[in-house]
């Protein structure tokens, strides 16, 4: 792959993306338009996240890629292989050892630190998109901080279903200003977004980058009488026994018997290893 620059993108493109990232960090939660490039994987497969990662990557970085919390899902494997091939960086599946973590749909269970960057793949960056399809309108709404439409939607949810019927991609407000889509993470992960690591969000097809600097205030929208609840499946992981992690449900026989396992496979594996250590 000597034909391609380090981490695939040419330096001009990286500079353009880094500028967008810096602007995003300076205005937390604001969607910065950027000239997204075609990547060698399809839109919808994480091209925004891949471009952000490519622009942040140094040769000494250690990269972790997860999809649905797991390192061995096919698309995570594919993206990790891509960076091994075009950047030759070291990769890991241990959250603590990674300097950059690219993720789709989850935040790792283990708390991140100040030396880490979490890169999210974002399909639809606009939290207001399904309430207002026009970009020209939604940009205006953000500019004027006109978020009433979302509150009405949440209120209607409660009046219809007795609760806010959004279980993932649950909208947040950043530092009391921009309303932001946290990407399709389960709302269980929302409280983790106030963290020591830098969080970068890349939406390739929609040509938007946004960011959260460390320790930024991120509030999940709610009402005083209907407070936000970081819900998850009730149960324990069938492998490590955890009850405090986000669980995936798996069907294990033809009768439809269900079991739960940790969605974060690294966290689960480390717990199992620790348990074995204690037993020995």
């Amino acid at each position: 792959m000597s034909d391609y620059n380090f981490a695939y993108l040419d330096e001009q493109t990286k500079r353009m993306i880094r500028r967008a990232i810096l602007k995003g960090l300076a205005i937390p939660g604001y969607q910065v338009p950027f000239a997204s490039r075609e990547m060698p994987m399809p839109y919808g497969w994480g091209t925004g996240g891949v471009q952000v990662t490519a622009s942040c990557l140094h040769p000494q970085d250690v990269l972790k890629v997860i999809d649905q919390g797991a390192d061995d899902t096919t698309n995570a494997v594919s993206i990790r292989k891509f960076f091994q091939r075009v950047a030759g960086v070291n990769v890991t599946d241990q959250t603590g050892k990674a300097t950059i973590i690219q993720t789709r749909h989850r935040i790792p269970e283990e708390e991140l630190n100040e030396d880490q960057i979490l890169v999210y793949q974002v399909p639809i960056p606009e939290p207001l998109r399904f309430l207002e399809p026009r970009e020209t309108e939604t940009r205006k709404m953000h500019a004027l901080e006109e978020y009433g439409l979302m509150h009405v939607k949440l209120y209607e949810d409660i009046s219809r279903h007795g609760q806010i019927a959004t279980s993932y991609a649950y909208p947040v407000q950043v530092e009391g200003r921009y309303m932001m889509d946290p990407s399709p993470i389960p709302k269980f992960d929302n409280p983790k977004m106030e963290m020591p690591a830098i969080q970068l969000f890349g939406a390739g097809r929609e040509q938007r980058i946004y960011a959260l600097p460390p320790y930024t205030q991120v509030v999940s929208l709610d009402f005083e009488d209907y407070p936000f609840e970081a819900s998850k499946a009730q149960g324990a992981c069938a492998i490590c026994g955890a009850t405090h992690t986000y669980l995936d449900e798996v069907i294990i026989d033809d009768e439809g018997t269900r079991e739960f396992i940790c969605s974060d496979t690294d966290y689960c594996a480390q717990r199992v290893a620790a348990q074995k250590g204690e037993a020995a």
Partner: protein, 396 residues
């Protein structure tokens, strides 16, 4: 105990091997060569170059071979390749009246300077399967005359049909757009103010935007819209253009002129101080002439729609010109009828087939986590609804 499925990596490798085998097909059948595709699938090659935004027939043919004939996949391969290429600069605008035409027809005038040149078209073929082609060997009909149309047409400049209408002031002037200006109907001074000549003016306009270098933002001026349409999906534009013909944003279009031919591309080289030809491209250009009864801001006159596409692709060129015209409602002071083809944001946001197919197909990627969250919620809401129903029934 359930063991989570491992081995994504091995599965991917095996899938790729199988794909390669399927691509080759039956090994007793000779393998297609890239030059064969380039020469004999030239229209597919043209489409891949147009939507891939890269003029390179050999690479487009290679992409078609690699993509097993899936043209959108081939376009994707080309796009992913072109995006890694360094950008040295921009060529000078091409002067299409200097095109060496293979084909040039007008549906508005029976005869005109430069003549009607039918060229290599399917238009008047009878769509009967030619079983001679199924037999091996070259069964192509011998040309009745050895002269091909490129040689038979006058190689000197062929003026555009619309320039004749221009002389009478019957058609709006074609002017370079000032970015952002045409989307402000209030100032009412958009078109036909400075009467630059129809030709020539193309060299004097403002720098056109480039959506491969800048994110697409609205309002989008006409040059940006045309760029977007030129690389947009043929099928999507065909459907939109067809919808305008059936009344969803009618534009009453005639094909003033359709020309297909070769044209040199020149670029200014700063070190030399003059322009040099860097290559030759095949282009399809369509100018539609549209009925227009006038509006509050514009007098009755014919208006224009424009299409320009790499390769020989009339369907795409005509579609593009109709959709271009439909999107110009605001600058011409027309009504917005709510038709999809008039809606610039709708058209430009959805015409790119690489974006569309990627986002559409990504829903086959795992969504376990989100689905799990939905499962929990639907169970909860359902349980509440069922218990409410039970209480109600008990009360009755």
């Amino acid at each position: 105990m359930y063991v989570a499925v491992k081995g994504g990596e091995r599965a991917i490798d095996a899938a790729h091997d199988w794909l390669a085998e399927q691509r080759r097909g039956d090994k007793s059948v000779p393998e297609l060569s890239v030059p064969q595709i380039r020469e004999q699938m030239a229209l597919a090659v043209g489409r891949v170059m147009a939507e891939g935004s890269l003029y390179d027939p050999d690479l487009a043919a290679l992409a078609i071979k690699q993509a097993r004939g899936d043209l959108i996949e081939a376009v994707f391969l080309i796009r992913a390749y072109r995006t890694t290429l360094p950008r040295f600069g921009y060529s000078n605008p091409v002067e299409t009246s200097e095109m060496l035409c293979l084909r040039r027809v007008s549906a508005t005038f029976k005869d005109l300077p430069g003549g009607q040149v039918l060229g290599p078209t399917f238009d008047y073929t009878h769509r009967l399967l030619d079983f001679k082609l199924a037999a091996d060997g070259d069964s192509a009909a011998q040309p009745q005359q050895t002269q091909n149309s490129a040689e038979s047409t006058d190689p000197s400049t062929i003026p555009h049909v619309t320039s004749f209408l221009n002389k009478e002031g019957l058609i709006e002037k074609a002017e370079p757009t000032v970015p952002g200006m045409q989307d402000k109907p209030e100032d009412g001074s958009n078109s036909a103010q400075n009467s630059m000549q129809d030709t020539g003016s193309r060299f004097g306009g403002p720098e056109p935007a480039d959506l491969t270098r800048e994110p697409l933002e609205f309002p989008a001026d006409r040059s940006l819209r045309l760029q977007s349409l030129a690389r947009g999906d043929e099928g999507f534009l065909l459907g939109l253009a067809y919808s305008t013909q059936r009344g969803y944003g009618r534009t009453h279009a005639f094909i003033g002129e359709l020309r297909i031919g070769h044209l040199g591309v020149e670029m200014d080289v700063p070190e030399l101080g003059f322009a040099i030809e860097i290559g030759e491209i095949l282009l399809t250009e369509v100018e539609s002439v549209n009925q227009f009864k006038g509006s509050k801001t514009e007098p009755p006159q014919f208006t224009r729609g424009y299409g320009l596409v790499f390769g020989q692709n009339e369907r795409k060129g005509i579609s593009m010109s109709l959709v271009d015209r439909a999107m110009r409602w605001r600058e011409l002071g027309e009504e917005f009828s709510g038709a999809p083809a008039q809606d610039i944001e709708f058209v430009l946001s959805h015409s790119d087939n690489i974006q569309a197919t990627g986002f559409l197909e990504h829903i086959k990627l795992p969504h376990y986590v989100d689905f799990q969250a939905e499962l929990e919620m639907i169970r909860k809401i359902r349980a509440e609804a069922m218990s409410a129903q039970a209480t109600q029934e008990a009360a009755e």
